[in-house]
Symmetry: C2
Subunit: 391 residues, 2 copies
């Protein structure tokens, strides 16, 4: 079959707030071929990814992403790999293309799964999908008291692990941050797995990060995530030498497998966090998982948006039983929660299961999300290159 | 003074061809503050960078680039560093932002140079700008005979160095490529510095690149550029171990200083090539130059577009006398050549001199480029976020 159409939909909350909540908008992708359809999502800045889809060619290695996708043959998994390679070569100098490719690639896997009546993880070569232990991904409260309440709520909701991040963390004093981490530990209880996300707040300043290590060790945090920006490998490696039992986690900013491999090889991280909606999709994420497996670094998804994005982010490491942790968004916006009619199932032990169903195993609810669409029109040289399509 | 306005202009040739010529379009940036103006350019895909400038906020770390620029204080060089840091933090998850920042940063340096009556290189801390030996940057011909003619023309035009790249190179047989390289050497003469650019054609396939090494050694090529994509450091390092006197060059795809540092530390390159229009501007490029200097890697600009972009790309390493080579575009489109009323001067020895004049030292010719403007309108949610401004 041939890829007949690709439709991109910009969805957003009516009001987007200036907070660290990445679920307030999304670019949803629908691919149609041979009577089947597949869905995917791109992280982040929907308008910019839209522009990279339709932009006029700049030169032979800077073409719009759609030029490498529309009309392509899609019969088996090798076709997805070929389309990936073409996008990467033809849009080499188009920086945003990796994010746009991510949503396209996810939709292609979903579509092929429907066509071949197989879950994506089986198309990826996994015999089965092992259940994952979800950590509730929540934002630090403005005050430790609020963090304490959030941690208690996560525990009461059955989460055995929780990650706290962004908000005031790293922006005040060392003591402020210690109080926040202690509150999270108290609310979670002594048995809970506590993870802390610094959200790149120290950029590449090792000293500032190192000051926070005693409180993290005191609270038995399992990891400190993104003390620095993705790519600042030397700073990561220096901090890792000081962090003792608290491992470093990072890599979500990787927009190619190479960037993630670089973090694995040179940043001394214990956990590599991959967002399938950024790294290039499921194809690239699977590549990183295999690389991490060979180097004793634990792979974990990065997902802060919808259940569709969550399913896409879990498929690439579903077959690795030892990598039990998974990020599970619990504070997603109503828009993000509306995208699928049902989400992934948590069993009585709180473990998350991927659907044993074709593709990503979830249904997109086009009626529920229609109110959140953002109408876009892009005109270049008097010609309309994009206007929001109907569902 | 405060940044009062930033105007972005999409310029393009009437017809953009599917060839490796990156000078066929550009996004020109004008910044105005305190009665002064500064100009810069962003690489590449003007529409996508425009979108990243005006896009609605996705969350606190994914804001449009303009939010971190408009209204900012701009009195000295520290202000430029602060604006850079704000863009990088506030647009952390907006992939395209680094390319957009690049043009903004260049324009800020130009503007500040005018305000302080100093060339940019002096504001960067260099006492003087040493002349550079330009290599003519040309595309391989479709056939070796055409390459031979181009090489002879470069030599006749006084170039003592020339780089051939893209076109058929790496896409045919090993013998085809050997013939192309031999033709370039023949046309250039035995004394000329010969550089070869593979344009990432082998992605990360070391074996394919290694097959081309004998012909490159035979022709005494000084470097083989971008055998692989930026980031594929392990492949670079493997090839470097085989390449003998032919050094590897790469890094033009770096959109942050970290990526370039990664290439310097782990790709075993002899030359790090930085495009100020991609890496984040002059600020980031200067940072890479200092890093390379401390590690015995030679810095060289990547420039394939206008003389404005060339001046911006030379300033960050103008003060390093030992780094003599510079890329000099000789096949730029008429649009790119129209951007400035005059270009950089080549003296009787063929050496290129930066102007001893404020800022980038070049005048943008708004009348000459007006015919090449591409009208753009971006509407989101019924509101016009961008439409092409007047000059």
């Amino acid at each position: 079959m041939r890829i007949e159409s690709v439709d991109l939909y910009y969805l957003a909350m009516p009001e987007v707030l200036d907070v660290g909540d990445g679920s307030q908008d999304t670019l949803l992708v629908r691919v149609q071929a041979g009577g089947y359809e597949g869905w995917g999502e791109c992280e982040a800045s929907p308008l910019t990814s839209l522009a990279s889809w339709v932009c006029p060619m700049s030169h032979s290695a800077c073409k719009p992403v759609r030029d490498s996708v529309l009309g392509q043959r899609l019969d088996d998994v090798d076709d997805i790999a070929r389309i990936n390679a073409e996008v990467r070569a033809n849009s080499l100098d188009l920086l945003q293309a990796d994010h746009t490719l991510s949503g396209i690639d996810i939709a292609l896997w979903d579509l092929l799964g429907h066509r071949l009546s197989e879950p994506v993880y089986r198309l990826l070569g996994f015999a089965e999908a092992y259940p994952k232990l979800p950590y509730a991904s929540v934002l630090f409260g403005d005050e430790p008291q609020e963090t304490l309440i959030k941690a208690r709520e996560a525990r009461a909701a059955g989460y055995r692990a929780a990650k706290f991040g962004w908000g005031p963390y790293g922006r005040g004093t060392v003591q402020d941050d210690a109080d926040q981490v202690a509150a999270a530990r108290e609310g979670l209880g002594p048995e809970g797995i506590l993870l802390v996300d610094a959200g790149t707040v120290w950029v590449d300043d090792v000293a500032k990060a190192a000051e926070r290590l005693p409180a993290l060790r005191q609270a038995s945090a399992t990891w400190i995530e993104e003390p620095f920006v993705s790519g600042a490998a030397a700073a990561y490696a220096k901090l890792a030498a000081l962090s003792g039992p608290v491992k470093l986690a990072g890599g979500e900013g990787s927009h190619t497998p190479y960037m993630a491999m670089h973090m694995i090889d040179h940043a001394e991280i214990g956990y590599v966090q991959i967002d399938a909606g950024r790294v290039g999709g499921i194809t690239s994420a699977r590549e990183v998982a295999a690389y991490a497996d060979a180097r004793d670094v634990q792979y974990v998804n990065h997902t802060f948006t919808s259940q569709l994005a969550l399913s896409a982010s879990l498929q690439p490491y579903a077959g690795y039983q030892a990598w039990e942790l998974c990020e599970f968004p619990v504070e997603s916006s109503i828009m993000a929660r509306s995208i699928t009619s049902r989400g992934l199932v948590r069993d009585e032990d709180g473990m998350v299961h991927l659907p044993d169903a074709p593709g990503l195993g979830l249904e997109v609810d086009t009626r529920a999300i229609w109110p959140y669409r953002v109408d876009v029109e892009i005109r270049v040289g008097g010609k309309t290159l994009y206007s929001t399509p109907p569902f």
